[in-house]
Assembly symmetry: C2
Homo-oligomer: 283 residues x 2
Amino acid sequence: MKIPLIPIIAFLLAVAVQAAEPAKDFRVVDPANVMLIDTRYGQIVVELAPGFAPNHVARIKALIHARFYDGLSFYRVVDGFVAQGGVGEEEGKASPKWPPLKAEFDRPLGGPFTPLGNADLYAPEVGFEDGFPVARDPKAGREWIIHCPGTFAFARGNDPDSATTEFYIVIGEAPRRLDRNLTAFGRVLSGMQYLQKLQRGNPDVAMGVIADPAKRDTIIRVRLASELPPAQRPTFEVMRTDSKAFAALLESKRHPAPEFYGNKPFPILDICGVTVPVKVISP
Amino acid sequence: MKIPLIPIIAFLLAVAVQAAEPAKDFRVVDPANVMLIDTRYGQIVVELAPGFAPNHVARIKALIHARFYDGLSFYRVVDGFVAQGGVGEEEGKASPKWPPLKAEFDRPLGGPFTPLGNADLYAPEVGFEDGFPVARDPKAGREWIIHCPGTFAFARGNDPDSATTEFYIVIGEAPRRLDRNLTAFGRVLSGMQYLQKLQRGNPDVAMGVIADPAKRDTIIRVRLASELPPAQRPTFEVMRTDSKAFAALLESKRHPAPEFYGNKPFPILDICGVTVPVKVISP
């Protein structure tokens, strides 16, 4: 059998180049934007998005530096909807130290937008920016982070400008009615399975708040990765959503395994059904 | 701020009517179609839909009567996707006792269809029949159960007619690409939070199959409610999706709490974001 040497050499060269530049299709996440939430089930890792909501990100960083969340709880956990953490009972009592924030529901267009490639029921355009699921309204010139499973946001009262310290993370079918109604400013990079283990509340009673504090799961501690000594700090890399690798991933999802799905290929994607790949490099 | 009073009044009226006639808007589920799956976290309850896939329902009832699942495991659990249970390793080895089933991906139109009331990305029409989320293609004259969180279905190999004994339940963002590609024939009435606690596999290795059997969660036992003595049998009631109460519920979801969402009401619903209410009456 003849072995064509040229393609093999080309392939080995490509592999060598790739090995030399491992991060080409991935972006290293700034450790100052990596939030580590420890629970008894495991660690939940959130990437914060200061470009979308600078004041909310500044607030949560200040709260983390003050060790505000350590020892608090996930006091409202509604299966298929959200896990909400913070003070709980005190919610709504504005503290002089943490005054209400002005809403940052959306921002002007401008990120490195990669369109999903098909329509959406809720927004004129949807796609990805820096790994975040984003919706855009080109006429209004605005864009915002979509409420997908794993989206991180601040809770608020009826006043749009009333968020203070309470956060939630989406754990179920995308609640798109929340889009642009709350300030979303992050997404879970790893640990969704630990959020799914949290003790649930009864959604029909007090909106799912768990009345008995003893039945709530504790937020053991919250840190930014940048607060850990470099030797103990994990590194997170997110696939660049404007890369060829991501375009290929979208294409493979749009046309999945023909030997299995050949029956009825369905070239439509749900923006919240696409999970942007993440690599974790342990220290 | 204007508050749309009509939907609120309609909803309150519906609730009042319901209080006066408790069973009117609910249907008692036939205990012969109620599947009880016991795990160490709690009991998962599935309503089977023989009208959609009579041969698959007959098969699973035969498997339950044979105590086939007792002591087997959830061997493939992919966070945000599905929890799959059954034999595991032996999957694909057709047993002479449980030969491959012909696919029942869809059926002719005909159920008591209640439209959701807005468009869908994947099907010409979506709505509800007897509490199940259903899609329809009026031109083709076919309808099928949608893959929403909680949808129960049989796994298969590449051959569409190869399902035997392995089942899966959707535990994440609706994987609509599976619609009409697998036979869906039930939905979870209660216990989603227990499915969410199941030990996960690594989706990047062997499609999420958990290699070490010791790390898999056991299916302790599976029974039909009709197999239990009446004195030990819970009763399940599902809101009739062709009732006024359900129409009012859809309306209230389409126009949620104006004092909170007033900022940007968004009258579009995701078929998989609507959970049909279930009452459990303990024996």
